[in-house]
């Protein structure tokens, strides 16, 4: 569906542009309200080694939060993992052990309340997905609440950018009322968008009850465009923790293969976090269309604007397998 739409749109745009002398498709194409965004000069991203999903995770997560100079004391924190599907053989979702460790870390650091919230993009039956993925067990053990964002109460949010024609979105009250929204994606390739990380993970806040499963409206509007509009619409303070202990390569985000990286990535700027993650995957972030665009107004994508702390990313960089149509994303460092 998406590729048809994108194809027809781009074919039509290219045809029109080619027929008009001097018209370049990328000329003065700023699609955001400049007054609403002020990109910081530099962003800090912490990469910490985490070899396994084990008992050390809570301390590693707490270290990542401290290193990022985030003080969550007194905050109502909403953790938004990536929980989209279940495959007993696969590594689709943010690992429940990391979610449990993050709940513990935020509580230890003084958060007033920590809830886990997700609006799975494929499956509507949360009871099944939570149990099959193992998250029910960890939620019970940590005595943490779960909110189904697909059916939460919603509020209308006017978009602050115009990559899609949506103009507005209805978004869940749980997300909009959080003091801190923590995107917790899995480090994965994505067969439509190249990579799926902190920014793409926000698809899960778009309520299925309104937009359906698999949130097809966003696909019709263009995945990259939707990623940009959703993230630009959010004014709630954000933090990002990426599960890069075991990532997914190849035909992600559902059917790719497992890839052990052994790292967690932390930071407040989702663009900088995602750029760092892309580099860990052996991908040049500025070649990922939506990351390059996000780097123009939502955050920092260029290496010189990102202060790396913790581990040196280059030492953990891997050569993730990419689908043929994304081969051009490969960084020269691994290619």
């Amino acid at each position: 569906m998406v590729d048809r739409r994108t194809f027809v749109k781009s074919a039509a745009a290219a045809t029109l542009a080619a027929g008009i002398p001097g018209c370049r498709p990328d000329a003065d194409d700023r699609k955001w309200n400049a007054a609403a965004f002020s990109r910081r000069e530099s962003s800090t991203v912490a990469v910490l080694k985490a070899p396994e999903y084990d008992h050390r995770l809570a301390e590693i997560v707490a270290s990542g939060i401290r290193l990022s100079s985030l003080d969550p004391s007194g905050l109502r924190v909403v953790l938004k993992p990536n929980l989209v599907e279940y495959d007993p053989e696969g590594v689709i979702n943010t690992h429940p052990a990391l979610i449990a460790a993050t709940i513990e870390a935020f509580r230890t650091l003084g958060a007033a309340n920590v809830v886990v919230a997700e609006g799975p993009g494929h499956r509507r039956d949360n009871a099944y997905l939570l149990t099959a993925s193992g998250l029910t067990y960890d939620l019970k053990n940590t005595d943490a609440a779960y909110v189904d964002l697909n059916s939460d109460d919603v509020r209308e949010v006017r978009l602050r950018s115009r990559y899609t024609k949506l103009g507005k979105l209805y978004l869940p009250a749980t997300v909009l009322e959080a003091d801190l929204l923590v995107s917790m994606p899995k480090l994965k390739t994505h067969h439509w968008a190249g990579v799926t990380l902190s920014l793409k993970n926000m698809f899960g806040i778009v309520p299925g009850l309104i937009y359906g499963w698999p949130k097809n409206v966003l696909h019709w509007e263009g995945i990259e465009s939707s990623i940009l509009d959703i993230n630009a619409a959010l004014t709630v303070p954000r933090f990002n923790i990426v599960d890069g202990i075991i990532g997914m390569e190849g035909n992600g985000p559902i059917q790719g293969g497992a890839r052990h990286v052994g790292a967690l990535v932390f930071g407040a700027d989702p663009v900088a976090v995602d750029a760092t993650c892309a580099r860990l995957m052996g991908i040049e972030p500025e070649r990922v269309e939506y990351l390059r665009e996000a780097g123009r107004f939502l955050g920092n994508v260029r290496g010189e604007r990102i202060q790396q702390i913790g581990e040196t990313p280059e030492e953990l960089t891997q050569d993730f397998e990419l689908l043929e149509n994304f081969a051009s994303l490969k960084s020269s460092l691994v290619g």
């Binding site: 048809r4 039956d125 009871a127 059916s151 509020r155 209805y170 067969h191 009850l209 359906g212």
Partner: protein, 319 residues
């Protein structure tokens, strides 16, 4: 109606109490207790609460029916909630709920108007330009990424988008229930095409997920809840696809204890005359051990399934 076993009766009482306890002051239900009323939850809860044994004291569903009737829009459809305006896919559930009510002209007229609204909605098909490109081999088939017949139209979740299994299944059920009151040929044409769409979207090996069977050359796997819904919508059609679907559903439910999946599984097997005794026992056990589900949709379907009122979705009950 057969008598209920004690454990079954106890489970039914718990479900009724839980559903009755989660109603909002405005008479409707939200997706779970404390959430704003939606058409879907209100329609399903009001449908479920007319089903159990007459021995039980049931909450009054009149306020829920009033909620539904007062929310119907001028175009005949229903909105998602008071916050999200505009007619939406939940119209099918309002029609199903009102169609199952004892005769009341007002409700039946509302259901027919809802049915007419449904007939005006359709999922998007293949763009004409792309059809030409396919015909001229300008776009490789692999580029289309998904392998399904885009010309088979069902119902979308939202206007101007593609057809998917769940909204199509609900719309088919609603239209079948209202078929005698709708314009002569149109419902049959739409139902026939939607059924063909559902059959086309079945996963290799049987069953349905949200509505894609293969992506980028890889098989996708089915889900229990959507498989059961598709089977119910297909209404006891005996084809290789439904037989495979029933087998796949049986297999999926061996490792799926979700109350929603078990309840819909019971309704699907009942409809096709297959044994669902084991699923009933597991659903009763689940309610006994974990309590009723918090999700009003699951709660409602569990109540309908355990009270053996699958006939609420049978299309020959409404003459």
């Amino acid at each position: 109606m057969r008598p209920y076993a004690p454990a079954e009766r106890e489970a039914l009482e718990e479900l009724v109490a839980s559903l009755g306890g989660s109603v909002n002051r405005d008479g409707g239900w939200g997706a779970s207790a404390g959430l704003l009323s939606t058409t879907e939850a209100t329609a399903l809860a009001s449908l479920a609460l007319r089903s159990p044994s007459s021995e039980q004291s049931l909450p009054d569903i009149e306020p829920a029916l009033d909620w539904l009737l007062s929310r119907q829009l001028r175009d005949g459809g229903w909105p998602l909630s008071d916050v999200v305006p505009g007619s939406c896919w939940m119209t099918s559930l309002a029609v199903i709920s009102l169609a199952g009510m004892p005769r009341s002209d007002h409700m039946q007229r509302a259901a027919v108007r809802g049915g007419l609204w449904l007939l005006r909605q359709r999922g998007l098909g293949t763009h004409w330009l792309l059809k030409v490109m396919y015909r001229l081999n300008l776009v490789p088939r692999t580029e289309s990424a998904v392998e399904l017949d885009r010309d088979l139209i069902g119902w979308p979740w939202t206007a101007e988008s593609f057809s998917w299994v769940e909204p199509t299944a609900y719309a088919v059920i609603a239209l079948k229930l209202r078929r005698p009151q709708l314009p002569l040929h149109t419902p049959d044409d739409r139902i026939d095409m939607a059924e063909a769409m559902l059959l086309d979207r079945a996963c290799p090996g049987g069953g349905w997920n949200y509505g894609n069977s293969r992506v980028l050359g890889e098989d996708l796997w089915p889900y229990a809840d959507t498989t059961a819904l598709a089977l119910i919508a297909l209404g006891n059609r005996s084809t290789g696809v439904t037989t495979e679907g029933l087998q796949a559903l049986r297999g999926m439910l061996e490792t799926n204890d979700s109350p929603l999946a078990l309840a819909l599984g019971i309704l699907a097997f009942d409809m096709y005359g297959r044994d669902a005794g084991n699923l009933r026992e597991r659903l009763i056990d689940s309610i006994d051990q974990k309590g009723p589900p918090g999700d009003v949709r699951a709660l409602s379907f569990a109540l309908i399934a355990l009270s053996a009122r699958g006939d609420l979705f049978r299309f020959d009950i409404d003459g």
